[in-house]
Symmetry: C2
């Protein structure tokens, strides 16, 4: 049933227009959120909008890895206990947060800020690939360092991975990509055949975790 | 799996804190929205926050029915073609918009601004019941006017309806409530037994819509 929209107030309509421009927020949810904000103390609403403005206006990106940071160099790049000769290349800030949340990675990152996508009009020069390439060249003895391509497994991800590989291969750096296969705990029955097929091809020597 | 949160930036964390305070928005969605806003042109983000601030700071409520309005009297109350002797009492602004969207109602409204709920600490004096009572008393010949109690069917709604009935009954105004029963197109099999039972009790003379 289409929802006939008649707003009692232009201010309400403009707020709903703005809120529903967020990804995944429909006009009904936007109205619910707008009416919620309207019921909050004025101070809370100002705090809400100020936090968003501050994020957009004042956020910095790490000079080295292009991660969001409050400083010129992010806390990961500034951490001397991490392995600065292993660079994990990711599409976005969120990927860094996801990998950090695993607690399994102790190297550093390089945030591309997107992925090569001719359809979306994103080319290599729109990303931080040149900066990555310079970072790798600047490493002492690159041949004993590693670049992990932690990109998505779709066409854009593979294209970007291939392009980066070509940019850095001359340095002799070791280039790896994420292991792909069945998820831990996944049921064979429900796995898609591409993933299952690759899982068989890339089978590993069985070992018992100690 | 718990999501370990380590924010690369205090500004990002504060924005996520604020966004996730919205109802129905979890911290993961809030992060997604914050990163989305970060990718937007600064101007768009300022427009977004300005629309929300403007809503909260500048919105007015109709002096007569307490509906959100840009004017002192809302467009519904100012409309002389509507029936001003039929007052539909609702909990919130959203209810007015829902009823208006049906196109089936031509009277006016009274927005209570909430519902009597001892648990939530909302008493009659927190709502606009006194104003409603005065509106009814001010009607010419209230006995030929009507108050429709369009409140929810839960305990709070019934309590509020009863309270309002007691406040206005002395004027002799006709008090009605919304028809309750199976929804149009509802399957008997899936109806809850309370609704189905009430639907049988409140059965209506069969008529063919012309």
């Amino acid at each position: 049933m289409p929802y006939k929209e008649t707003y009692p107030s232009k201010l309400l309509q403009e707020a709903v227009d703005s809120i529903s421009s967020l990804p995944g927020v429909g006009r009904r949810s936007a109205l619910r959120l707008a009416l919620h904000l309207l019921r909050q103390p004025q101070e809370n609403v100002h705090h809400f909008t100020a936090a968003i403005n501050a994020l957009r206006d004042d956020v910095c990106y790490c000079r080295r890895c292009r991660m969001i940071s409050d400083e010129d160099i992010c806390s990961i790049c500034a951490d001397h206990t991490r392995d600065h000769r292993t660079i994990c290349v990711v599409e976005s800030v969120r990927d860094v947060m996801s990998i950090e949340a695993t607690g399994q990675y102790h190297g550093v990152y390089h945030v591309l800020g997107g992925i090569i996508s001719p359809i979306a009009g994103v080319g290599p020069s729109d990303l931080t690939i040149r900066e990555l390439s310079e970072r790798v060249k600047a490493l002492e003895n690159p041949a004993s360092a590693e670049v992990i391509l932690a990109l998505s497994g779709d066409v854009e991800g593979e294209t970007t991975a291939f392009y980066i590989y070509r940019q850095v291969e001359a340095t002799g750096v070791k280039v790896t990509s994420l292991a792909r296969g069945l998820g831990f705990g996944d049921d064979l029955e429900y796995a898609d055949s591409l993933t299952l097929g690759r899982s068989i091809q890339n089978r590993q020597v069985f070992k018992i975790d100690t």
